[in-house]
């Protein structure tokens, strides 16, 4: 069953005068099935964040459709969109986006509080989640008191706590050192094994090599995709690297 379906998505940024137009997405089509772990790869400026923002409903496409569990996001009313996003999607950002006025615990609760859940219900969900993520001891700390990796794990907990159908991650390892990156990627594999669907945007081959499928985006189109198949991480890494080399030489040609 498809969780996400993207049909002929196009996004044109125009500045206020309409003079300078930037075509961030030309034509993007792809599907994500339940339980998949998909990485979207591309160079900086290739349109990854734009794509993710549209998927998240934070931005409107110029044309095309995004279907989440068969529902057209474009049809959802502006005022219901936030609630829809909150209930169906989880986000992990490159710069964590934790609120500095909240403890980690309160940061994690935020989407549930907004959804009007009771404290008892929230608390019972928090326990197993934070244990798995290894941040049970840090819950009373404020974001500025913990490391980047710990912040990102809290952000993951915040994304997971609503039990979303799909996790969207925008360069989640971008601001992490290599050890924290490894830890986070293992965590993603772990939750993916538990059945969580993940769509991750990245420009790191290492991060992409841990996923199940890689979509290559360039100049606003998906021009290639790779399935892991039966490869292990290292082999998949190699395959992705090769594709990227091809991509560069293709550009040279």
């Amino acid at each position: 069953m498809d969780i996400l379906e993207v049909r002929t998505l196009k996004k044109v940024y125009a500045n206020r005068l309409g003079a300078n137009q930037v075509q961030a997405l030309k034509q993007v089509d792809f599907k994500v099935e339940a339980g998949e772990y998909v990485a979207v790869m591309g160079e900086s400026g290739s349109g990854k964040t734009t794509l993710l923002n549209i998927l998240a409903g934070l931005d409107q496409p110029t044309s095309g459709q995004v279907l989440l569990e068969g529902q057209d996001m474009g049809q959802i009313k502006e005022k219901d969109l936030a609630a829809f996003r909150r209930d169906h999607l989880g986000f992990v950002f490159q710069d964590f986006n934790l609120l500095d006025t909240f403890t980690l615990e309160d940061n994690i609760y935020l989407p549930l509080v907004l959804a009007g859940k009771s404290y008892a219900a929230m608390h019972s969900r928090l326990q197993p989640l934070t244990e798995q993520l290894g941040i049970s001891q840090l819950l009373n700390k404020y974001p500025y008191e913990v490391s980047g990796g710990q912040k990102q794990r809290a952000a993951v907990a915040r994304a997971l706590i609503t039990g979303p159908r799909l996790i969207l991650a925008d360069e989640p390892t971008g601001a992490l050192d290599s050890r924290a990156t490894d830890e986070l990627l293992s965590l993603f594999n772990q939750i993916n094994h538990q059945g969580q669907t993940i769509l991750m945007v990245t420009h790191s081959v290492k991060a992409a090599s841990r996923s199940g499928r890689v979509l290559f985006i360039k100049d606003g189109v998906i021009f290639h995709q790779l399935y892991r198949g039966l490869c292990d991480d290292e082999q998949f890494y190699q395959k992705i690297s090769d594709s990227l080399t091809l991509l560069t030489t293709g550009e040279a040609r």
Partner: protein, 686 residues
Amino acid sequence: MKTAFYPRLAVDSMKKNRQLYLPFILAASGMVLIFYILSYLAHSAFIRVLRGGSELSSIMNFGSIILAFFSAIFLFYTHSFLLRRRKTEFGLYNILGMDKRSLARILIWETLIMATVSLISGSLGGILLSKLAELILLRLVKSAVSFSLSIDLPALLNSVVVFMLIFALILLQSLLQIWRSNPIELLHSQATGEKPPRGNWVLALAGVLLLVTAYSIALSIKDPIAALFWFFLAVILVIAATYLLFIAGSVTACRQLQKNKRFYYQKQHFVSLSSMAYRMKRNGAGLASIAILCTMVLVMLSTTVCLYAGTEDILRTRFPRELSVSAKISQPLPADDSYWETLQQQLLIAPDQTQLSAQNLLSYQYAYMIGQVSGDQVRIAEEEDPVVPTSDLISVIILPQQDYNQISGSSLDLAPGQALLYANRLTYAADSLTINDAVTLQINQRLSTADSLAEVEIITEAAGYTPELVLVVSDYASLLTRLQQSLNDAQQSNLYLSWNYAFDLKGSDSAIAESQQLSYWQGKLDTLTAQSEGRLYSLSVNAVSEERSYYYSTYSGLLFMAALLALVFILATVLIMYYKQLSEGYEDQSRFAIMQKIGMTTQDIRQSINSQILTVFLLPLLAAGLHLAFAFPMLQKLLLLFGLSNHRLFVSVALLCFVLFTLFYALIYRVTSHVYYHIVSKNTKA
């Protein structure tokens, strides 16, 4: 080229930061403007010549001193805020290779530019508006006005010197700040991980305690002048308590509410409560300042408006009758009261020859003599002319019992030969008193205060130093005859009689209008004195109409000064509020962008922003209202000292001031919160 580098850099960066600098310069100009006006009025020749003009001048002088101190503190404080926001920029310059000496030069130029602009625009505005201010003031005083625009050099010099000093102080502080910091610190000064606000129970409780103490002092003060120390203590305690409660109390309250999980983890409380804690930690001091400024504005305006509006009431209390005439007559004394009755009739012939009638007549007479006391004997002095009495001379005043009873509303009943004694500025212990060996009085009663004699002019006005013996007797007429017979020639001039009338006039309007003029009475008195062939030793008149201008000039001066100071305080409130909104806007910008990504609807965000903003808006106003309410009884007693007993007037004026101020405050808030919304919505689609 090289020399113009720093000024240009200074101008550029000020332009870039005009959102910060423009309001500051405007506020500084406003303060220069008002300072100039106050010192101009203090010097103004038009005002000097008014009745009560010297009081007006000193009120204005006093106001300008207060303003100077306030401006210094306030500009200094807001500039430090400005500087904090600029530190990152300075850090960047520093890292890019600009040494501290160069930074200092930029700062010097910036301060110089700010000072020049504020001083020039402020004094120009002041010069232009000073005439308007003078006109308004003269109108308030109900005096004629003249039109000519002038520049008052001393006032100008005054303003320039005072504000140059203030700017020098500001510069010194900026230089010190730059000198003491290192570049990395400068670069990160705005972004350093802010510690979460912790509730401080001790400080919060101290705040509550201080407030309760201050309020109970304010409520228990009976006589504000006698308890001046307590009065000021209450004021200081209220100020301290306000700061404590806004800074520590509010955060503690937020934290306490956050501990209540049921309450805290609700959509409408969750974000607001945690942001509030931070907001109050950062802006508590600013909000407390706003609350105190609001209180001051309210207190100043309501009391002075009330005094001004109640001037007629005050005059009525002070001078129960429109006119009071006092006639003093020396030897030969008239044989009976008929002399006085004719005098009174002649007094009451109106300019148009109709007879005016005296209403609410209050009349009393007394005999006044100057003598020397030894033991229980008084001898009337033998000087030709009683000039200023020398140290061993005393005054003896004898009042008829009947008049005393009328004046004081008491029912004294003395037997002939008995007397009631009030000894002023001397102790008189003997049981009897003999005057000129002719009259002996048994001291039957003694007064310890002059309260019941308050109407007797000679006693109340005797701000002098002569010791006085006041005697009330029942057999006034026979006593006077005996005294007179005992006088030798040299003593004659040291005994005279005084007859006093106080009354309201009744008659045709024109007659009254004319007879309200003191000059009319002066003419009349001169005629009467001439007719008396030297017997009338002095005849004087006090008209309320004359006192009126004196009172009006004092109270309108107070009102005017209060209005100008209120203007300055409001200006300060606006500026604090503006900077508060500005800094909060920048802080909340990223926060709300995040919340939107997490799934907060724009509606939720709006709601949260509104509820926080409303709380922050209402808190200082509520505090000011509360302070005013508790200060009310004390202020009422203060006004009573001024002679204003019309409590209804005060209540309604205070309420009116509060309502008007609230409207004005709401307006300020609306305008400044636009700044906030504008900044916050830059990153959000809120």
